[in-house]
């Protein structure tokens, strides 16, 4: 038999040894001989009940705003669909090419949605800060993830990519 395998088997067997019945009593006696110490209890506070649902809803809202930015048809100067039609008025003098009832949507940046997305991201970040301000590791993790997600989404929404 392989010595190493035998060593491992032996180790498993020893880990199941039956201790003496008076072990608890002896350990207790040893502890009682030590002068007691009093220190403040530091138990990690569990995450507040409202936090997870709130962040989930805000995240879904952000995703919805992000997706809806790209599902809206882009309105250019020559594309009004059924809402606005390039009209020609022939009055013998000339033609007016643009229907004044159709709004000018020359800018392609959906500022409203970008603002909404940013606001949701700020609110989410604020909630993460309130919940995790005593736990620096979780705070850094959550804010980093939020920052990356927000930055990437804004880059796409602003048309930088």
């Amino acid at each position: 038999m392989n010595t190493e395998k035998r060593l491992r088997q032996d180790a498993v067997r020893f880990s199941n040894m039956t201790p003496p019945p008076d072990l608890r009593g002896k350990l207790q006696a040893s502890l009682e001989a030590v002068p007691p110490v009093q220190r403040p209890v530091q138990v990690a506070r569990p995450v507040r009940k409202w936090f997870s649902p709130a962040v989930a809803i805000l995240s879904l809202a952000m995703i919805f705003v992000f997706i809806s930015t790209f599902s809206q048809p882009q309105a250019g100067l020559l594309d009004y669909g059924d809402a606005g039609i390039l009209t020609e008025q022939t009055d013998g003098i000339g033609t007016s090419a643009i229907d004044p009832s159709v709004p000018d949507t020359g800018s392609e940046i959906p500022l409203g949605r970008v603002g909404m997305f940013s606001g949701l991201a700020l609110l989410t970040g604020y909630l993460c800060f309130i919940e995790f301000k005593e736990r620096s590791r979780l705070l850094k993790l959550s804010l980093s993830a939020l920052a990356v997600f927000t930055a990437v989404a804004l880059i796409f929404m602003l048309g930088l990519v």
Binding site: N2, E32, Q42
Partner: protein, 172 residues
């Protein structure tokens, strides 16, 4: 009660919480101590030393979930200290159970052979196989480089294979 909460209470000075933490793993800890000390009295003594050290130093433990790993480390150090003070095995250990392979002497031969190794090699074998420590952890406990740990382990295994006879040689 969850381990984290019990450790937090123990950190605050609750002796009962610490005792319950230790008793929850009494078999494992006693078995580990027994492997080193090889008799019930010394194994129990080592556990008693361990629990006193745990109580006085538990406030320095940063991660509650690492409690048992830390406790084992302290237990091993207590055992090694006692071994260096000259505690030796005096006879066949009481209550040693037969192995399932129907070869009751193999375990004794193996442990006996381990304890006949030079202390540096014995410590490495016990820490690596019986305490489940990594080379880096062993290096930290024994205060020697990782290369030295690996070298001692290799030498110890070679000696064990030689002492225990042909049936312990590696299969070709």
């Amino acid at each position: 009660m969850r381990i984290k909460e019990q450790v937090a209470l123990a950190k605050a000075g609750d002796k009962q919480a610490l005792l319950e933490l230790i008793m929850a793993k009494e078999r494992e800890l006693y078995g580990l101590s027994y492997v080193y000390m090889r008799n019930e009295q010394d194994a129990t003594d080592a556990l008693q030393d361990m629990i006193v050290i745990l109580y006085t130093r538990i406030h320095t433990l940063k991660k509650e979930e690492a409690f048992y790993s830390w406790a084992k480390q302290i237990l091993v150090r207590c055992c090694l200290t006692k071994l260096r003070q000259g505690k030796r095995w005096q006879g066949i250990p009481e209550g040693y159970e037969e192995s399932e392979s129907n070869q009751p002497e193999l375990g004794l031969d193996l442990l006996d052979a381990i304890h006949q190794l030079p202390p540096p090699q014995r410590d490495v074998i016990l820490l690596y196989y019986y305490s489940d420590k990594t080379f880096e952890e062993i290096s930290d406990i024994l205060q020697c480089p990782v290369g030295t740990v690996k070298s001692r382990l290799h030498q110890a295994l070679k000696k064990l294979k030689g002492r225990l006879g042909d049936e312990y040689r590696e299969e070709a």
